[in-house]
Amino acid sequence: MIGSRTSSIGVFPLAVLLVLALGGCKDEKREFREMPPAGSPIGAVRESELQPGPSVVAESTKSPYGNNAYALSEGKRLYNQMNCSGCHFQGGGGIGPPLMDDDWIYGSDPSQIFTTIVEGRPNGMPTFKGKLSNQQVWQLVAYVRSLSGLEGTSVSSAREDHMYVSPDLQLRSPQTPKNTNTPSK
């Protein structure tokens, strides 16, 4: 029958698509209540490069939602609703430092940004400890990192339904963090 032969012909493009979109599953997952591993990064973050004893190379933590479209979108919503934009604006900075450049005062690693949000930083960054769930903070981390193109640019949205504020994330060139405070990879 012709139908069965059709499917054998379809195998080639199917295989190509499968390879192309293998990451799609994770990118498109809508995680509503799952709690990503949360507690560990806070203790693991170091403020200083100096340490007693043999020097241990810290592992760079991976953001649980790095390339997840839903988390990124929720992060963006929280970024505005929690008034991050009040100081950092849409990433360009103002009262607070810009988030879309390559300069990270307290580190660009996901765990460092997590700590920055949860613990706060001197000179103005408030603490969100107890104010946001860990999941929400991770969503914010994913969005903040996407602002400078560190991750998630393939799933970030092109624009918001409000006034034009910054160039499309996907058309911006990613920034490589230049700060020394980043744990070595």
Binding site: R30, F32, M35, R77, G130, K131, L132, S133, D161
Partner: protein, 335 residues
Amino acid sequence: MKSRDLLWAALAGVAVACTAYDHQSVLDPVGPQATSTRQLFYFMVAVAVIVYVIVVGALLLVIRNRRTAVDDPQSPAREARAERTIKIAVAIVVPVLFVFLLYDFAVARVVGRMPEGSMLTIDVTGHQWWWEVTYEDPIPHNIFHTANEIHIPVGRPVRIKLASHDVIHSFWVPNLSGKKDLIPGHADDIMIRADQPGIYRGQCAEFCGLEHAKMAMLVVAESPAEFTRWVQLQRQPAPAPVDSVAIAGQRVFESGSCAMCHTIASTQAAATVGPNLTHVAGRMTIAAGTLQNSRGNLAGWILDPQTIKPGAKMPANALAPAELQALLAYLGTLK
């Protein structure tokens, strides 16, 4: 045969639907628009049934009496008869459609016009997935906010100004009126009037994402006196808690994550991301009509909203049992 049986079943079904009381039904109107629309609907059903019976009856007759004789299937006399019949049929259909149009336009006029008089104005803003309700007043401090529950006085026309905070929603309380979409960038309004006291349920009717199914609201039509009392209460700020558990609960609310999204008037909680909770204990439902407002439901909702309403913007809250009990006690005081 089958079709006629089904037709009767259908009519019986419609009849049953009319007699039973329904709190979210087109067929149980309590407002002028819904009432005249129901009349129009019955008229249309009657005409449709007549048309259907005639046409399908003719078809079934033709099939039952189908000829097997060898006479000429193209006899001019019979063709002339068929042509005459069709011409008559079309000549009937066209005026019927005209009557339908005229009646329809008349009803549309009724529906579109509402006696002005002392109009109550309410702003309703659609959010994913709840309704923000604001009662307008010329005196600014008389303006108050609530959510997912609209109280209106019986017999008084109400203008509801519709806006959307995010995507398109649709305001629909079928017992009162047809629906109107809340469209970003297009301010619009809808006028309703409830002629009988009661609680009428409404639901978002335009697909608006994950929890479109759980975006309901209640319209409470009550006597003008009751309504005035309700308004007076809503204008008051939240009563300060008196017992120590409730005081602890207020601290939980203000210091924890609740205050990041919700407002309770006269407290430090003043965020406008989620519904205004100033008088939350006085509402019948929580989570936009998803749950009955009881202490147990509220506890479940606060701890794990994502199981009850997956995708809702309210995060899970890991509260210690004592904190939760205090918070529930405090919320219970917000009558």
